[in-house]
Amino acid sequence: MAIPILTAKRTTKRFGGLVAVDELDVEIKEKSIHSIIGPNGAGKTTFFNCVTGFYRPEEGEIQLNSHSLIGLLPDEIVRLGIARTYQNIRLFPSLTAMENVLVGLHCHLRANYFGIVADLPSTRKEEKEATEEAKRLLRFVNLTGKGDLMAKNLPYGEQRRLEIARALATKPRLLLLDEPTAGMNPSETQTMMDFIRHLRNEVGITILLIEHQMRVVMGISEIVTVLDYGKKIAEGPPEEIKRNPIVIEAYLGKGSAAETQGVAA
């Protein structure tokens, strides 16, 4: 049994009368690829926002390696090793690709005000190393030579990859990907799936992703958690989830489960 890297216990987030996340229990195993799926409005992104500190859940507990994340600010959480990307890409549009990645490196740099103004040797050395690291990351996501372009001028697929490079720059142990293949064509999707697998296998980062494309979810995840109206309705390996009547009902409505099974049989 692998150790959980992230544990959510009875996490609840309400917006007025609406319960967006309802007593959710999730365990993410170290070095796994874990998907969260569910119909629109099921609370997937809200859960991401709770983990990364944008929202503070009203009840329950979220722990990273038994270190509580509740009440921490987003910048403190990213230092602990959780990075994320966004459903609708949120790069720094008027900064260059290079600068975007360098901002990701921010929390691993030490330079302070006086070091910068006096241009101390240590600051200069650190800046040089950061630039090298940023170049390496750009190469890693296959954006070599695009460093000087403004982020918003990059094509869509490259923006997605740049966003991942920026998240990787924070040196995360757990990477949250919010619909990484949204709006991609089949071949781009395949490349992204290979890339995610590569991240886990070669770099050793735990991946938690929200995804709508079933092909991706079933193709790469080891565990799938299904949310509906903020509640966990099913959890397990993809093959089980595919056959789970509750899941089919949540997606397609009552009665569909029987029909699909009938068709399948």
């Binding site: 900064l95 901002v103 921010h106 330079a111 950061a130 030579g145 001028n153 920026r166 924070t170």
Partner: protein
């Protein structure tokens, strides 16, 4: 029939627009105010230049908007535009003759009518229908000319008009150089250019721009082909030459122009500070003058014997003034940490007013001097050399500018500068990338306030007195205009913006009354024509001129493959 009208309508439309502009300029009194100054002595005065530029502008617009590509239609449209504009002026003259417009428009005087009708009332008024269409026809032809020739004409005409307008600056400057004095006499008269001077200038600039448009590209590629070390030497020698010029400038320019330079310098200091807060960190601060006031008043209180608390020298007081600026920058930053955009602007606007009202108050009079301000602030001095005259204070301000530019340059591409820019782009994501918003915002407010307080301290010792009324909200707005017109986030942009928006109005006393109008116009025109500013950051320049980027990309892609 309708087809012809659609082709023709833009000429009429822009003509009406031109008429509106020229009539408005006349009724506002701008035409009359400008009539004193001659551009080319006895031939062409500044009011005529103003109207001519307006007509050429709308004529060009008419040509540009013509839906047909036939040159004939372009010419017809621009000519129509000129006729319609002239008609509107004629209408103004007729109406002015029939009823007393002066009851409403105080500037609608007989002198104005004389100016508009070329000096002889209705006898010479028909000339309008020759002169205006000629101007707009010129614009139409300008539009049809190849780009190089168009650039040549615009550049040389702008230079002639510019030389005429800036005669007070150029003539004494040239005259001060013994051997050039004769040339100055040849080019300039007591009021305006001589005819031969104007034609010579026109020819020289034409030749220079033509040669540049033919050879300029070769020079630029030549520069790019130089090895990096060669480029570096060239750049450094350019900077060295600039430094030498800056150093000897006040000696050449004399007292009045040095005074103008000191004012521009103070605005450069303020602008660079606000550039950090607004340009880098994206925190719209409209109460920026507060820190200027704090710097000035701190210097006054610490040095002036009039209040009798302390009698420090300027140099002893300066660190305290700047430090106090930082403290207030941080203190006023704390309550607005959670505010964004418009809310931040309103809150900071309030802070600016609070500080001004405080220094004005009777309650604080024993400490801050009230409405009468604080006087007898000593001049700064180093080893017996006193910074008294504008030419001397210039060096003090120059040193301040160098310091502030140096700090801005270092911060710009550092970890902190990137954090500011990230925050400007998307505050939430910046935080998710590990940026501590509180510290980063306060550092921006503190740095901006420090620059502003430094400017205030120098301002206090320059005037040797401080008054509450020089700390009003207009200063904050002027500085904001300077950085918008110059180019947000760009250091050279701030300098260019300050020279254009603060320096030029000081030089042209005719503009003084229309300063705000010119600011508004400058902002609108900038937003339409050059939203990135006069001298934008390299990255932003690329953003607004994407076609050039694509060209470059293509070139690099070819080079790499």
């Amino acid at each position: 029939m309708t087809g012809v009208f659609t082709l023709w309508k833009h000429g009429v439309k822009t003509g009406l627009l031109g008429g509106l502009i020229t009539v408005l300029l006349s009724l506002m009194g701008m035409v009359q105010a400008f009539s004193e100054r001659q551009i080319v002595s006895g031939v062409f005065s500044m009011d005529q230049a103003l109207l001519a530029v307006a007509v050429v502008f709308v004529g060009y617009l008419a040509a540009k908007r013509t839906t047909s590509t036939t040159p004939l239609w372009v010419v017809i449209n621009s000519l129509t535009c000129g006729f319609v504009t002239a008609g509107m002026i004629m209408l103004l003259l007729v109406i002015g003759d029939l009823i007393n417009l002066r009851a409403v428009f105080i500037n609608a005087s007989p002198v104005l009518y004389q100016l508009l009708s070329f000096g002889h009332g209705f006898e010479s008024a028909p000339l309008l229908f020759v002169a205006y269409p000629l101007c707009s026809l010129f614009a139409g032809i300008l539009y049809l000319l190849p780009a190089a020739l168009r650039r040549m004409f615009t550049a040389s005409l702008t230079c002639v008009i510019g030389a005429g307008i800036l005669q007070d600056l150029l003539r004494p400057t040239l005259a001060a150089w013994g051997s050039l004095a004769e040339a100055a006499e040849w080019i300039f008269t007591a009021n305006g250019l001589t005819e031969q001077g104007a034609s010579a200038l026109f020819l020289v600039i034409s030749v220079v721009t033509l040669v540049w448009s033919l050879k300029g590209k070769a020079v630029r590629t030549g520069y790019k082909r130089l090895p990096p070390s060669g480029q570096k030497t060239l750049r450094w020698s350019g900077i060295a030459a600039l430094l030498v010029v800056l150093f000897i400038l006040p000696q050449i320019l004399g007292i009045f122009l040095s005074e103008v330079l000191t004012i521009v310098g103070l605005y450069v200091l303020l602008g660079l500070g606000l550039n950090i807060v607004v340009g880098y960190a994206g925190l719209l601060d409209l109460g920026y003058v507060a820190f200027f006031a704090i710097g000035a008043y701190a210097t006054a209180i610490l040095t002036s014997p009039e209040l009798g608390f302390f009698s420090l020298s300027f140099w002893e007081a300066l660190p305290f003034a700047v430090l106090l600026g930082v403290v207030f920058g941080v203190l006023l930053g704390i309550p607005v940490l959670k505010m964004r955009g418009d809310y931040l602007a309103i809150a900071t606007l309030g802070f600016g007013e609070i500080i001004r009202i405080m220094v004005l108050s009777d309650f604080l009079r024993p400490w801050l001097g009230g409405a009468q301000g604080i006087g007898k602030i000593p001049k700064a001095s180093i080893a017996g050399f006193e910074f008294g005259m504008p030419q001397e204070i210039y060096y003090l301000i120059l040193a301040g500018c160098f310091l502030v530019i140096f700090i801005s340059l270092r911060l710009k591409d550092s970890r902190l500068g990137r954090a500011w820019k990230a925050m400007r782009e998307d505050e939430d994501v910046a935080q998710a990338m590990g940026i501590n918003l509180v510290a980063t915002k306060l550092l921006a407010f503190g740095t901006g306030a420090a620059f502003s307080a430094l400017s205030g301290a120098i301002f206090a010792t320059k005037l040797t007195s401080v008054y509450p009324h020089s700390m009003n909200v207009m200063i904050s707005i002027n500085i904001l205009c300077v950085i918008i017109v110059g180019g947000m986030g760009s250091i050279p942009g701030v300098i260019v913006g300050a020279a254009a928006l603060v320096g030029l109005p000081e030089l042209l006393r005719e503009f003084a009354e229309y300063r705000l109008l010119v600011y508004g116009l400058a902002l609108v025109v900038m937003m339409l024509v050059r939203p990135e500013g006069l001298w934008p950051e390299a990255v932003r320049r690329r953003e607004f001129h994407e076609e050039e980027v694509d060209e470059n990309n293509g070139a690099t892609a070819k080079a790499s493959s």
